[in-house]
């Protein structure tokens, strides 16, 4: 089965986010004075061919831990759904 995977890589709480801070500081001059807590992450999409959802999720988690994130400074949120035909 083909599974469509979306990984959101986020900086862990407390880790400096210069891009987010810079965007937030620019917002008042653009007319958005009430916007706060801007954090910039990464959005990564791919497909996995796996026997079932549990094994697809397990592989995605392994991929995130070993490569897509640095666990010292980043977390990953994984969204996964069956998507037969996608990516083929």
């Amino acid at each position: 089965m083909i599974f469509s995977v979306h990984v959101e890589v986020r900086l862990r709480p407390g880790i400096a986010d210069p891009q987010g801070s810079t965007i937030e500081r620019a917002l008042p001059t653009l007319g958005f004075p009430g916007v706060e807590g801007v954090r910039v992450g990464k959005s990564i999409r791919f497909t996995i061919d796996a026997a079932d959802e549990a094994s697809a999720r397990s592989e995605a988690e392994d991929l995130c831990r070993r490569f897509l994130t640095n666990p010292v400074i980043e977390d990953a949120v994984i969204e996964l759904e069956a998507a037969a035909g996608v990516g083929r």
Binding site: L11, L68, I73
Partner: protein, 218 residues
């Protein structure tokens, strides 16, 4: 004794020739190690130089650590051989798990390109053994992700085991505990953000990098 120093070259490295020049200047014998070759060619010491290995895509060092040469570098380190990661090389060594912690974006939101003062905290490491403990040296930094961080347990271990080998006198990037350079438990693997290979002559503004790099070749 002239020692052979291997300098790893990834696509996107840009400080390897500076390291080669510095090693040659000190009477060592430098050679480039291509990242795609799974060997360190029997060199005595390895330097992972600065730059933007593999474009720093995903994260600095994230892709470089999978290069074939890195397994050989890890073997060399495991056998007690000296390995030094400078700037991007430090980032590569943390991603490869040869050194603890990570380098996050600078606290001040700016790319830093300046010369800083460092205190040599320990001369018990592959890179600082010929430097004078307690001395202050001037070395350039050139980085955006140089803000060293690690969990509390790791920091406590680094401090209690005297593994913080270099500290910033005036912390430029927010690094925890003013850390500029650390070593592993075996003290043969060292990572630092400053560039000693750019401080090899008074004509360049400082020759304070020489005692550090001499530790690898003498």
């Amino acid at each position: 004794m002239s020692r052979r120093v291997g300098v790893v070259l990834f696509p996107g490295s840009n400080c390897e020739q500076d390291v080669v020049e510095a090693v040659d200047l000190l009477g060592g014998e430098a050679e480039i190690l291509w990242h795609g070759d799974a060997t360190v060619n029997g060199v005595d010491a390895v330097v992972v130089p600065g730059g933007f290995a593999h474009g720093d895509y995903l994260r600095p060092g994230a892709i470089a650590r999978f290069s074939p040469v890195m397994a050989a570098v890890a073997d060399h380190a495991a056998a007690g051989g000296p390995v030094v990661g400078i700037c991007n090389g430090f980032q590569v060594l943390t991603e490869a798990g040869l050194l603890p912690g990570a380098l996050q974006k600078n606290r001040g939101l700016k790319f830093l390109c300046t010369t800083v003062e460092l205190r040599v905290e320990s001369n018990d490491s592959a890179l600082t053994r010929l430097a004078e403990a307690g001395s202050t040296i001037r070395i350039p930094v050139n980085h955006f992700e140089g803000n060293y961080t690690c969990d509390d347990e790791t920091l406590a271990a680094l401090k209690s085991e005297d593994r913080v080998v270099l500290r910033y006198v005036d912390n430029p990037n927010g690094s925890v505990d003013d850390i500029a350079g650390i070593c592993n438990e075996g003290r043969n693997v060292v990572g630092l953000m400053p560039h000693p290979e750019r401080a090899t002559s008074e004509l360049l503004g400082s020759a304070d990098g020489l005692p550090l790099l001499r530790s690898l070749v003498a």
